[in-house]
């Protein structure tokens, strides 16, 4: 375990030196030294969460995307944690490598294409769980969307969970992390760890190794801010025995049942369920179009989900906010700032997952700058 940690640090340093252009943080050698006084996390206005890093500009979940997000002023860098065949935790969103890496051009891996069932659906592709970490590291990441900047394709590789954490800790101000326990059912089916440990154990172990702990808004938490997210309620309940760090339950489209408990959207957003899960999480992370369902690309009437969550002292962190007009309902006139304004001022949510943390930061600085210190009530600490 130790040698792997050292290898990760070396890899991280090499990342900075070798070839990637967007790493000005490399020049600043902020230490993990606790005596170094960093600018603290802002807690007076809604959180700006860099969804997969600044992936509107740079391929998702790469060091460059996370460093860009930090430069742009984000509060939290967000990631999805999956596992490799040999049990290493990696930052990667899809269970398959097809859409965001150059795997298809790697003739040496041509024979590894598989079909597996993932959350009840058959998927075909190259699965991360069929590749060792070394093999994954030989791949290069590309921009998922054709309408985003392609100039960084092939430059960056996949990160480990350790490397992601080190990026946050090395920033010259306090930057929080927001990792997801991603597809835990699938991962635990395909990857086995020694000592009877499972995916959730390894996930929390990594966080504890770097000193992440403490309830929401405690002194420990403010020094190393952390939210743990998952679509799987049993995973969140399970880890509440091994960490008191704040957790959020993610909520998918109304048609998608939970992967572990097979519960419907309507069940897990009922008052009874929210009161139950409140014992384990401090908030929910819903898909924004379920909070306010659209009609003909205009906003329809809002549901009462935010009001009910807030009544139970649950924060609401909706996903995902994107600048491209194809993602914006016409009420916003193709203006991402109008969307921020609506969700933060009118609906009053507590954070936004965005692909464009730079834009959200500008909006927040222009309308709620640090000097003003508005007190946003998020309820008492969990």
């Amino acid at each position: 375990m130790d040698s792997l940690w050292h290898a990760s640090v070396i890899v991280l340093v090499l990342l900075f030196i070798g070839g990637s252009d967007a790493n000005p943080a490399a020049r600043r050698h902020s230490q993990l030294d606790v005596n170094h006084k960093k600018q603290p996390l802002q807690t007076f206005r809604p959180y700006n969460i860099a969804h997969r890093g600044s992936n509107g500009e740079i391929p998702e979940e790469t060091a460059a995307a996370y460093l860009r997000a930090i430069d742009e002023g984000t509060d939290f860098i967000e990631t999805d944690i999956l596992a490799s065949e040999d049990g290493h935790l990696i930052c990667f969103h899809d269970v398959t490598l097809d859409n965001t890496t150059d795997i298809a051009s790697r003739t040496e891996f041509a024979g590894r294409k598989r079909t597996y069932e993932v959350q009840g659906v058959n998927m075909t592709g190259w699965f991360t769980v069929d590749f060792t970490l070394r093999e994954l590291k030989s791949l290069r990441v590309k921009q998922r969307f054709s309408f985003r900047d392609q100039q960084y394709n092939g430059k960056y590789n996949i990160l480990t969970f350790d490397e992601f954490i080190l990026i946050a800790l090395h920033a010259d101000r306090v930057v929080g992390i927001y990792p997801e326990i991603k597809n835990p059912i699938f991962i635990n089916q395909h990857v086995k760890w020694s000592g009877g440990k499972k995916f959730e154990d390894k996930f929390v172990e990594t966080l504890l190794k770097y000193g992440y702990k403490g309830k929401y808004m405690s002194e420990d938490w403010l020094m190393k801010p952390l939210f743990i997210q998952s679509f799987a309620p049993t995973s969140l309940i399970y880890i509440s025995n091994i960490t008191n760090a704040p957790k959020l339950l993610l909520i998918d489209e109304t048609t998608v049942p939970t992967q572990d408990t097979n519960q419907s959207y309507y069940e897990i957003t009922s008052n009874g369920y929210l009161a139950f899960i409140r014992k384990y999480v401090i908030g929910i992370g819903p898909w924004k179009d379920t909070i306010i369902p659209p009609e003909n690309n205009h906003l329809g009437p809002a549901t009462d989900l935010v009001a009910r969550a807030h009544a139970l002292n649950l924060q609401v962190h909706p996903y995902t906010f994107r600048n491209e007009n194809s993602y914006l309902h016409f009420n916003f006139h193709q203006d991402p700032y109008a969307e921020y304004e609506y969700w933060l001022r009118e609906i009053g949510v507590d954070a936004l997952f965005t692909d464009f943390t730079g834009s959200l930061h500008k909006y927040l600085e222009w309308t709620a700058p640090h000097q003003n210190k508005e007190k946003k009530c998020r309820g008492p600490p969990a």
């Binding site: 600044s54 509107g56 985003r148 003909n296 007009n325 006139h333 991402p336 464009f356 834009s359």
Partner: protein
Amino acid sequence: LPVRLTCVCVRACAGVVVAAALLVLGCASSGATARPLVGAAAAKQPLQTSRPYNIAHRGSNGELPEETAAAYMRAVDEGADFIEADIVATKDGHLVCFHDVTLDDTTDVADHKEFAARRRTLQVQWANVTGYFITDFTLAELKTLRVKQRWSFRDKSHDGISPIITFDEFIDIALNAKRVVGIYPEMKSPVFINQHVKWADGKKYEDKFIATLKKYGYGGKYMTKRWTERPVFIQSFAPTSLIYAADLTDSPKVFLIDDVTVRTEDTDQSYEEITSDEYLDYMREYVVGIGPWKDTVVPPTRDNTLTTPTDMVAMAHARGLQVHPYTYRNENRFLHYNFRQDPYAEYDYWLNDVGVDGLFTDFPASLRRFQDWTAAKN
């Protein structure tokens, strides 16, 4: 009836149809309240002149079909400094607000079987264009058409509701606003218009254009008291039209400059020629500014990123010429990657880095928000 409707009824030539359409619009649009009578200019909030101009290109056409009363009134509500229009002429010599010489892309003319036979091919600036030409329709006929949103990716819920408006009706909208709102009309395709439309009194298109402005009291050099009460910029791609107009009015004029491959329609001059030192020295006797296509000022690469800016802005500013580039749009397909698909990043670059004096935008609300939010910082 609301006060606004009464004022317009008195002025509008087309009468009942326009009144009815505006009544529909009045119900449909948000935030329009009673407006003061024209002439009470002293009581109005003046035009801002301390920061670059927010020019609502074809009205707020990101939200509503271009060059309609609805699009212009929305732009006024959203805080635009100027509302912009392209002026062309009908078969019977009326001046209307419309961008294309053909009706195909922004009206329902194709659904009007009574006009089916009018589709034809004409030469427009050395290219053959096929369609329904606006110069083949009388004003009354045009008023039976309804305007639609040009772009498939914009809101189409207002399609089929608004008619084409006249130059007079456009001016009315500006003068009836609760604050001073400038107008920015273009002498559009003058060579084509003068070829196809003749006026009985021997006057030509430019004469009619300027006469309309004078009728409503527009006049006076840039920043005179008279100008600030009724702000106007007259724009055109055709230098001879601007020079001709200079004899008729001292209102400020802006010389529009197209892409590097396009020659002027009247003098057949190249981009290189009309942006040379000598030519700018010549034109500065007649215009107060230039309006270039933004991609000629800061050219993009094939990979959609910006390259080094040209020296056009410096050359213009050195001669005391303003620069009002076109056109700024929110949709990511129009944004170079440097701006991370963020229209406000584009405004920031052009206003603060390049330092231009006005922006033609399809989204005056967004530009207004950007300017208001960053004004406190300056």
